[in-house]
C-alpha cells in the first residue's frame, strides 16, 4: 500500500519543518511508511525555501489557489504517482501523526472509501475542540448533510481525512474550490461511497492563521449550506 500525505501549506514557514520532521521520525520507527508532498499554495514567506533547504518534497503552485485548489493538486499528484491512499494532513501542526494509522486502517481493510478524523465522536478524544460558535456551525452543517444524504457526519469541517484510490480519482477531477471538506463529503455520500469517522485529537495550530477568519463566518455558513443543498438537488449518480 502506497500512502501519500498531502500537506497543504500557505505561509507556514514556522511549522512546516516540524511537521515534516514528525513524518520522517514516524517512518523511522514504524512499519507503515508515509510519503509526503507539501503543496505550497503560493506562500509569500519562506515556506518554499525551507522545503528546498531541507529536501522536503513539494509542489509549488505558481499562483495562490486557496485550500481547495491546493488539496486537489495533491490528489492529482497522488493519482499520477499511483498512490493507493491519500491523507490530507495540515501543515500547521494541528493534526497528530500518530492518528494516521487509525485513519488509514479502515481503508486498508477495504471497509470504506473515506475516513474522517473526527473531534466529536467521543468526548474524551480531543482537548482542542475549537470555540462554541464554531462547534455550533459544524452542527448546523452536519444537520444539512444529514438532510441531503441521510447520513450523519459529526466533524464536518475536519481537514484530517484519508481516501482510497477510487476517491483519489474522483477528487482529482472534481473537488470544490471553496469550503471543500463539507461539500466534498456530501458529494461522495450522494454518489454512494462509504464514509467513516474515527476519533482523533487535534492540537491548536502552532503558528499561522486559520483559513476561516472571524468576520467571514456568516458568509462561510451561508455558502456551505447553499452548496450542500445544491449538491442535494443534483441527480444521484
Amino acid at each position: 500500500m502506497k500512502i501519500l500525505l498531502v500537506v497543504p501549506a500557505y505561509n507556514e514557514e514556522k511549522s512546516i519543518l516540524k511537521v515534516y520532521k514528525k513524518i520522517t521520525e514516524h517512518n523511522k520507527h514504524n512499519q507503515l511508511k508515509y510519503d509526503c508532498i507539501v503543496i505550497n499554495d503560493g506562500s509569500k514567506d519562506k515556506t518554499e525555501e525551507i522545503c528546498i533547504k531541507n529536501n522536503i518534497p513539494y509542489v509549488s503552485l505558481v499562483h495562490n489557489l486557496g485550500i481547495g485548489g491546493a488539496v486537489q493538486t495533491g490528489y492529482k499528484y497522488a493519482l499520477e504517482k499511483g498512490y493507493d491512499i491519500a491523507v490530507q494532513f495540515d501543515g500547521d501542526g494541528q493534526h497528530d501523526i500518530n492518528h494516521i494509522s487509525n485513519i488509514v486502517e479502515p481503508i486498508i481493510n477495504g471497509e470504506v472509501n473515506m475516513v474522517i478524523g473526527s473531534r466529536f465522536i467521543d468526548d474524551n478524544s480531543s482537548e482542542f475542540k475549537s470555540s462554541l460558535l464554531r462547534r455550533c456551525g459544524i452542527k448546523i452543517i452536519s444537520f444539512f448533510i444529514k438532510l441531503v444524504t441521510r447520513k450523519r457526519v459529526y466533524d464536518t469541517t475536519s481537514g484530517f481525512r484519508a481516501v482510497d484510490r477510487k476517491l483519489i480519482e474522483f477528487f482529482a477531477t472534481d473537488y470544490p474550490t471553496e469550503y471543500p471538506e463539507p461539500v466534498s463529503t456530501t458529494k461522495i455520500l450522494r454518489c454512494g461511497y462509504k464514509v467513516k469517522e474515527v476519533p482523533v485529537s487535534m492540537n491548536k495550530r502552532e503558528a499561522g492563521v486559520s483559513s476561516i477568519t472571524a468576520w467571514k463566518n456568516v458568509y462561510y455558513m451561508i455558502n456551505v449550506v447553499l452548496s450542500i443543498i445544491l449538491v442535494g438537488l443534483e441527480k444521484r449518480k
Binding site: 513539494y58 509542489v59 503552485l61 489557489l65 485548489g69 499528484y77 499520477e80 474550490t177
Partner: protein, 116 residues
C-alpha cells in the same frame, strides 16, 4: 423628449460605441464580448433618431410611458449581460485553476528529473 435631451443621449451613445471600439482596438475587449454592447447602444441610438418608433414600441408592449419601457428593458438587458459575464468568469476560474495545478505538478516533475 426634448431636443436637448435627445442630443445629449445621442452623444452619450456614440461616445460609448466609440469607447468600446477603442477598447477592442487596444485589445482590452475581445470582439465577441464587444458585440453585445455595440448592439445595445446602436439600438438606443436608433430609438433616439426615430422618436415615433419609441412611442409605437411602448404602446405595443403595453408600458405607460416610454421612459418606463426604456428603463425596464435596459435593466433586463444589463442583468442578462452581467449574469452571462459571471458564467464566463466562473468557467475561466475553473480552467485557470486546473492550469495552475497541472503546470505546478509538471514543474515539480521536471525539477525531479533534472536532479537525477
Amino acid at each position: 423628449m426634448s431636443t436637448n435631451l435627445s442630443l445629449y443621449s445621442g452623444i452619450f451613445c456614440i461616445f460609448i460605441i466609440i469607447f468600446v471600439l477603442y477598447l477592442v482596438r487596444r485589445e482590452r475587449i475581445n470582439i465577441k464580448y464587444s458585440i453585445v454592447w455595440l448592439l445595445l447602444f446602436l439600438a438606443l441610438l436608433i430609438f433616439l433618431l426615430a422618436p415615433g418608433l419609441l412611442a409605437s414600441v411602448t404602446k405595443l408592449l403595453g408600458f405607460q410611458t416610454s421612459s418606463n419601457m426604456v428603463f425596464s428593458l435596459l435593466i433586463a438587458v444589463l442583468v442578462a449581460i452581467n449574469i452571462s459575464a459571471t458564467v464566463i468568469n466562473s468557467s475561466q476560474d475553473k480552467k485557470i485553476r486546473s492550469l495552475i495545478q497541472d503546470i505546478s505538478i509538471l514543474k515539480k516533475k521536471l525539477e525531479d528529473k533534472n536532479k537525477r
